[in-house]
């Protein structure tokens, strides 16, 4: 089987893997980037959220073979002003508790704000409802997304 070729965090990435292997495990165990987490393996929790060609996807349920040629971005590789605003707001409001879901939360929040610069509470609820947080940091996630949106206005 020829290796699968993609771009990971801006660098070419050639993976020698079973095409059915989920993107999450290829990134965590082959590329060695462990910021994206395993929470359910069934597209239920969002802990594994990455961007594939700019769109948030559940990497645990995305076979690596199905996205050959794509650009994959993980929490380790996000950059730009939206990502910075989101991460800054997360730190400013101390959103995290255990932190395990937060890579996924941030990836979803960056995708939301890239699409919608001024989301309402309802926009946030619908964009973020695929990301579970067992520590229930939801109040602060909402507040931090508003905070990031505000920072991006200036």
């Amino acid at each position: 089987m020829p290796p699968i070729k993609l771009t990971l965090n801006g660098k070419p990435w050639s993976v020698d893997a079973d095409p059915d292997m989920p993107l999450l495990w290829a990134v965590r165990e082959i590329a060695g980037k462990t910021g994206s987490k395993f929470g359910c393996g069934a597209a239920q929790c969002g802990a594994c959220t990455m961007h594939v060609d700019g769109q948030p996807v559940r990497a645990c349920s995305t076979p690596i073979g199905s996205i050959a040629g794509s650009k994959v971005t993980t929490i380790e590789g996000i950059e730009g002003k939206v990502a910075k605003a989101v991460q800054d707001a997360w730190v400013k409001l101390d959103v995290v508790q255990c932190g395990y879901c937060q890579s996924g939360q941030i990836m979803s929040a960056v995708a939301l704000l890239t699409d919608n610069a001024k989301p309402t509470d309802q926009d946030i609820d619908s964009a973020m409802s695929g990301n579970l947080c067992r520590c229930s940091t939801y109040v602060r996630i909402r507040a931090a997304i508003h905070e990031a949106a505000k920072a991006l206005e200036i």
């Binding site: 395993f38 393996g41 929790c45 995290v96 932190g99 579970l132 939801y138």
Partner: protein
């Protein structure tokens, strides 16, 4: 954990059960001799005045945290206590997990055990860490006094700068000298009036790492040559593997070996994906002779059949039977099994050698895990090194007296060392055991299923004359070192045995049942169910007496001023009497757990389709001195969300002994669109800190249920309520 108390009997029993193994762990340092400190300092080039504080030459102060950081904020709160007494600058402070060492790092609320639970982290560390910080400060001051030739009394310390007149130095500059000085005894602690950090909003120490993906959890640990393992466990609790057909599993690319361990069959592979596929291909036949074959409906029926019968006496005040002719109210409640479902499934990495074992885990029960790992590996506890890393949540799950997932990891590593397994060539390969979410949901150690029966007698004036509370369910403590045989199981009745309401005749009793379904403490333990029963039933009595639920509670609470103050703060901030929009209602509940008192006022609404939504929760908490108030707020927010998800959706059910749920689609948890707005108010206090991680949970369920009753007239007595109320 139970409420963090370990009686003397428990302590003795603990030492018996463990064969006094605690003693074997008591190696390590005494940290009083100057030479020992000087050695440690020379080795690390740091000033190490005690087991909790390290000052590096660059001025960085690292606090060794003996508790597990699992989200509850110990890296921030415990560090703040040391920083306060040192008069350090918050920016120079760091936190890291302490090594496992029961002698240096035991939880003083548990006795001779290092472990985290019962919301005791701040409570048991408060004085210890204040002394550690104050001692470090005194040594730095003494070093400055000698260097500058001034009396120590002329020296001030502020924000990490030691100064006297024109002299000024940072902690780092004084560290080398301080390391050579004798440790003073009885260093005075600060007057809390002079606190500048404790009680203020301090940024969390783990925020940056946790927003960049850099924080390391057990699942992220990589060791050279490591194999990944998953375990096939029986479908029914109590079953054992009888026959294993591993042929197809071993044929999966990447699968390296299949081994049997006492708890099931492990598939080892070069990656999680291969291990997972190998397990899918594995065929195991189970011996179910001793397995639980009842479904949860049958268990509930069995428990309900016990309700008319008197149980083991827990509390008896006055004589409930002597109250005649009063109006009697009765209610029955059922509480399902609940999974903790921490966001990071259980994981550990084990590296087993001939004379030692290293474990990486979000370890919550270091001393017990060391002993169980040692027993499994055939080593001594002191040969087991635990590297505690961040845990992706726990809610009690990672602390269990059998060390289930740690023992599995060690048993797998041990199986590989057998010469019969591939001629012993896998011996010593590190093993990362990963539980899948399905393993977690179906793996047991649930909050026990309980049935409660309540009965009360009301006088004509609405006074509560008699109160009877009967509880039926499994014991969390039975068979554990914390068990107190002969006494009613404390974790089943906490929150019911003692209530903050004065009622002249009161009877509480308990039926402790048994089942192969393993059970465990779950964030706030007994109060997860007792507070619900007590606070909703009390609300029913208030309604029956045609009294306002707040006024009704206030009258009964006169002898409990602390509870009363918390209740009053919550209702004041929630503007209890202010009219709400149409289709909305409020409910209130108050509960004490882990030495703290919390009251919630919940506002719920119902839309035109009849769907209930929890809109807002106003919380008041008395947790003594709030060391880091923003962390206290976060824990209340978290407790509210965790509790709300549980009462709406949380249930592990079984058919013929097989668990129905498997992942977050069937074991639903609260999502962001269901999270109410939250307001938290902290009662100012000068008392030492009490619990924070758990106490936000107990009053949430009853406050919401009481609001739903106020709105719809429907009393929720069977949880979760999404089955009977539309959400």
């Amino acid at each position: 954990m139970p409420d963090g108390h370990m009686s003397d009997t428990s302590r003795r029993r603990f030492l018996q059960v463990t064969g006094g193994a605690g003693v074997g762990l008591m190696v390590g340092f005494t940290w009083t001799g100057t030479s020992r400190r000087a050695q440690a300092a020379a080795a690390t080039n740091a000033f190490v005045p005690n087991a909790f504080v390290k000052v590096a030459p660059d001025g960085t102060v690292t606090v060794l945290i003996k508790h597990l950081e699992m989200g509850q904020g110990v890296f921030t709160g415990l560090t703040a206590i040391v920083a306060e007494e040192m008069d350090a600058d918050w920016a120079q402070m760091r936190a890291e997990h302490a090594p496992a060492n029961a002698k240096l790092y035991n939880n003083t609320a548990f006795g001779p055990i290092q472990g985290t639970g019962g919301s005791t982290s701040t409570y048991n560390s408060w004085t210890q860490l204040r002394q550690a910080g104050a001692t470090a400060r005194a040594l730095l001051v003494a070093a400055a006094a000698q260097t500058w030739g001034v009396p120590a009394s002329d020296i001030t310390v502020s924000k990490g700068v030691v100064s006297s007149g024109t002299h000024k130095a940072g902690f780092g500059e004084l560290a080398a000298k301080a390391a050579t000085l004798p440790v003073p005894a009885d260093v005075p602690l600060k007057d809390p009036k002079n606190f500048t950090l404790v009680g203020t909003k301090l940024p969390r120490k783990d925020s940056a790492e946790k927003t960049t993906g850099k924080a390391i959890f057990a699942i992220d640990v990589v060791q050279p040559g490591m194999l990944v393992a998953v375990v096939q466990r029986p479908t029914r609790f109590g079953a054992k593997a009888q026959a294993i057909d591993a042929k197809a599993a071993k044929a999966v690319k990447g699968v390296v070996e299949v081994v049997e361990i006492p708890r099931g069959v492990a598939v080892l592979a070069t990656s999680y994906w291969a291990a997972h596929q190998g397990r899918e291909a594995l065929k195991v036949t189970w011996d179910e002779t001793n397995a639980e074959k009842r479904g949860t409906d049958a268990i509930i029926a069995d428990y309900k059949a016990l309700l008319p019968k008197p149980g083991q006496l827990v509390t008896k005040e006055g004589d409930v039977d002597a109250v005649k002719g009063a109006k009697t109210l009765k209610a029955e409640f059922t509480f399902p099994y609940l999974a903790h479902a921490p966001m990071e499934p259980l994981t550990c990495v084990v590296k087993l050698g001939k004379d030692g074992c290293e474990i990486w885990a979000g370890d919550q029960f270091q001393t017990i895990d060391q002993m169980n790992a040692a027993k499994t590996a055939g080593l001594k506890p002191e040969q087991v090194t635990i590297h505690t890393v961040y845990a992706g949540g726990s809610f009690g799950r990672r602390a269990n007296v059998e060390s289930d997932y740690i023992v599995e990891g060690v048993a797998i590593a041990k199986a590989l060392s057998d010469a019969k397994v591939q001629g012993g060539k896998l011996a010593g390969r590190p093993v990362k055991l990963i539980w899948s979410r399905e393993d977690d949901i179906r793996g047991g150690r649930y909050r026990p299923l309980y049935v409660h029966g309540m009965e009360a007698k009301l006088g004509a004036d609405g006074s509560v004359l008699a109160w009877q509370h009967r509880i039926v369910g499994q014991s969390i403590m039975a068979g554990s070192p914390f068990d107190q045989p002969g006494k009613p199981d404390a974790t089943s009745v906490e929150g019911a045995a003692e209530i903050p309401y004065t009622i002249p005749n009161r009877l509480v009793d308990l039926h402790t049942t048994t089942s192969p379904v393993p059970v465990l403490w779950w964030r706030s333990v007994g109060s997860t169910h007792t507070a619900f029963a007590v606070e909703t039933f009390l609300d029913e009595l208030a309604a029956e007496a045609k009294q306002d639920p707040v006024a009704f509670r206030r009258k009964l609470m006169e002898k409990h001023p602390r509870h009363l103050a918390v209740l009053n703060l919550a209702v004041e901030k929630a503007e209890w009497t202010k009219p709400l929009p149409k289709g909305w209602a409020r409910g209130v509940a108050v509960a004490e757990s882990f030495r703290s008192v919390v009251a919630h006022v919940a506002e719920v609404s119902q839309d035109d389709k009849g769907r209930i939504k929890v809109e807002r929760v106003v919380c008041a908490v008395d947790c003594g001195i709030a060391v880091t108030p923003d962390v206290v707020k976060a824990q209340m927010e978290g407790g509210i969300g965790y509790g709300l998800g549980a009462i709406m959706y949380g249930a592990i059910t079984m058919k013929d002994g097989v668990v129905d749920q498997s992942n977050f689609d069937t074991y639903r948890c609260l999502r962001i669109d269901e999270m109410p707005k939250v307001e938290v108010h902290i009662v100012p206090s000068a008392n030492p800190p009490t619990g924070v991680g758990e106490p936000g949970v107990p009053p949430l369920g009853p406050a919401v249920a009481n609001a739903i009753a106020a709105l719809t007239g429907k009393r929720i007595r069977d949880l979760p309520f999404a089955g009977s109320v539309s959400v």
